[in-house]
């Protein structure tokens, strides 16, 4: 127990402790918790965001959403986006971590370069790739005679989502790679040595030694990546604003558009609440998964 027990605490000390907590608690309560309740409250009204008065309409917004094609489409798009993002990010960052971990020369320099993407702002990199997609990719597509790439991938509903995921992944890979590398360090080298003495192939060493040690890291990375994918906004907004034909209409963008462009403020709040419930469910899953075994239960 890290809390000191036997200590005559002066009133000054007690006050100090309380004062230390006050700014945080007040700020958090007003701008976070209160905001959540305000949002939930709005979802039960018919406010368009501008009018001077509004009424309470019960669960009407939620009933609407249940049948709302656009909402379901956005949910599907968002789930697809998250799954694609996670698959791409996890594979690439794991491969990168393994690769970076095993090089001997120029390790720090290479690591540094690989981390640059996460320093740049999301909007900046999205806008840069917008130009690359628009000007560079068609040239390549023409040269390779590869139909999907002969115009900017962002212009076609079939390829837009992949194009946005790619940009997101370009940035998102850095952090999990770092985390995986840290996880890889925790594997005791003796295990590898004795495995090699026993003649295990590289693949076997990975499967029976590295992977079990990486499982907790992997789980956490996965859930964080899924949550990140579901709430993603910047890239899709800067690149496509949700189009073409709503093929990249992530939930975050739908909420924003409905609130500020479509004058459906209360509906947007209901959408946000539903998103909240989905994320809450995911978080519960995450907690359950991370309290289950790590390497210690082997």
């Amino acid at each position: 127990m890290t809390t000191p027990k036997s200590r005559r605490e002066s009133t000054a000390d007690k006050l100090t402790n309380v004062f230390f907590t006050l700014p945080a608690v007040i700020l958090y309560s007003v701008f976070f918790i209160y905001a959540v309740f305000v949002g939930i409250n709005y979802s039960f009204t018919n406010w368009d965001g501008i009018a001077k008065a509004y009424e309470y309409v019960g669960f009407k917004n939620y009933a609407n959403l249940f049948q709302n094609q656009f909402f379901w489409k956005s949910l599907t798009v968002t789930v697809n986006y998250a799954l694609l993002l996670v698959a791409l990010t996890m594979t690439v960052s794991l491969v990168l971590a393994l690769s970076l971990n095993s090089i001997r020369h120029l390790k720090t320099l290479t690591k540094s370069v690989f981390f640059v993407p996460s320093m740049i702002g999301g909007v900046t990199i999205a806008l840069i790739f917008d130009q690359i997609y628009y000007r560079l990719v068609p040239t390549i597509g023409q040269a390779l005679q590869f139909k999907p790439l002969m115009q900017s991938p962002l212009a076609s509903a079939a390829t837009a989502l992949f194009a946005v995921v790619f940009v997101n992944a370009w940035q998102a890979v850095a952090m999990p790679t770092l985390i995986f590398m840290a996880g890889l360090q925790s594997v005791p080298t003796e295990l590898y040595e004795s495995a090699m003495l026993d003649g295990a192939t590289t693949f076997r060493r990975f499967r029976y030694i590295t992977f079990p040690y990486l499982m907790p890291t992997f789980t956490i990375n996965m859930v964080l990546a899924i949550k990140g994918g579901i709430t993603s906004f910047d890239y899709a907004y800067a690149l496509t604003q949700g189009g073409p034909s709503r093929s990249t209409m992530l939930i975050g963008i739908l909420i924003y558009n409905d609130a500020f462009n479509n004058m459906k403020f209360s509906l947007a709040n209901a959408e946000a609440v539903i998103l909240f419930l989905i994320i809450a469910a995911l978080s519960l899953v995450q907690i359950k998964l991370s309290s289950k075994g790590s390497v210690n239960t082997l």
Partner: protein, 277 residues
């Protein structure tokens, strides 16, 4: 160290080279095109510039309110980080050392709750709350950033502080220090590494953030931050991409400079933070 088979080493090298290209080529494209005029660029997208022509840069700085936006971004990020660096450790220390008291335990879980609440839930109500409180300004944004930094900050710091040995603080108390002095003279130094991690993560967030400025500062051009500027710039210069690239590069530049000098610490700090969480 593991000795890889020859085949694996080739594969690994290919992977790394591909990765490096994927990262460096876009950056290369951006940088070289900032030195070209539009005509020169349309002749050769990839070509190295004829000379290091700074016309685009001058035009960007002089024609637009670039310095206003840079000033806004800087002010917001710096002030917010300073406040974050003071408030987070303070509340975390109070919680960590008083965890046996109900008030502090409740506050801890209360604040941690925020980790499970996605931003979209509060995004819309916040716009109305901030409008009502007349906080649609850079200062208002600063307050908001501090409030939103708490969930993650408290989570990271409380765990870290609870791992610190009590003896040093106890010794200080025996010497007559009260809680405030223990905090400022001792704890603040001990939490250095974790503080560095939090500062790096949050500074990156504040500097590059797009959503909150979009929601709160977009209407008044004087309040724009650099990300907002870049986004709004897009429509204005959709054909003049050399100018656009110049804008993007100038916005990236400060971060890249800081990174170039501090990369060892930045990467180390983030790794440490990642391992802890």
């Amino acid at each position: 160290m593991k000795k890889e088979g020859f085949g694996w080493r080739i594969l690994r090298d290919i992977v790394l080279v591909l990765g490096l290209l994927l990262i460096l080529v876009p950056l290369y494209i951006v940088i070289i095109n900032t030195f070209k005029s539009l005509e020169e660029a349309s002749q050769g997208f990839f070509a190295f510039p004829a000379s290091f022509n700074l016309t685009n840069y001058w035009e960007l700085i002089n024609k637009n309110n670039f310095w206003t936006y840079a000033k806004n971004s800087t002010m917001i990020s710096v002030v917010a980080i300073l406040l974050v660096a003071v408030i987070n450790p303070a509340v975390s220390y109070a919680i960590a050392r008083n965890f046996n008291r109900r008030y502090y335990k409740i506050i801890y879980f209360y604040i941690i709750l925020g980790l499970f609440i996605p931003f979209q839930v509060i995004m819309l109500p916040l716009t109305k709350i901030m409008t009502g409180m007349k906080m649609l300004s850079p200062s208002g944004l600063i307050v908001l950033y501090v409030a939103l930094s708490l969930s993650k900050g408290v989570f990271m710091f409380v765990n870290y502080i609870q791992g610190l040995p009590l003896e040093i603080e106890e010794a200080a108390r025996i010497d007559g220090c009260n809680t405030f002095q223990v905090f400022t003279k001792i704890v603040l130094h001990l939490i250095g590494p974790m503080l560095a991690t939090l500062v790096v993560m949050d500074a990156l967030w504040f500097w590059n953030d797009f959503m909150l400025p979009l929601l709160l500062l977009n209407k008044t051009q004087d309040y724009w931050t650099l990300p907002l500027f870049q986004y709004n710039f897009k429509t204005e210069y959709s054909f003049n991409y050399t100018m656009a690239f110049t804008a993007y590069f100038m916005c990236m530049f400060p971060v890249l400079i800081v990174y170039a000098f501090g990369q060892k610490h930045i990467i180390a700090g983030l790794t440490a933070g990642a391992v802890k969480s």
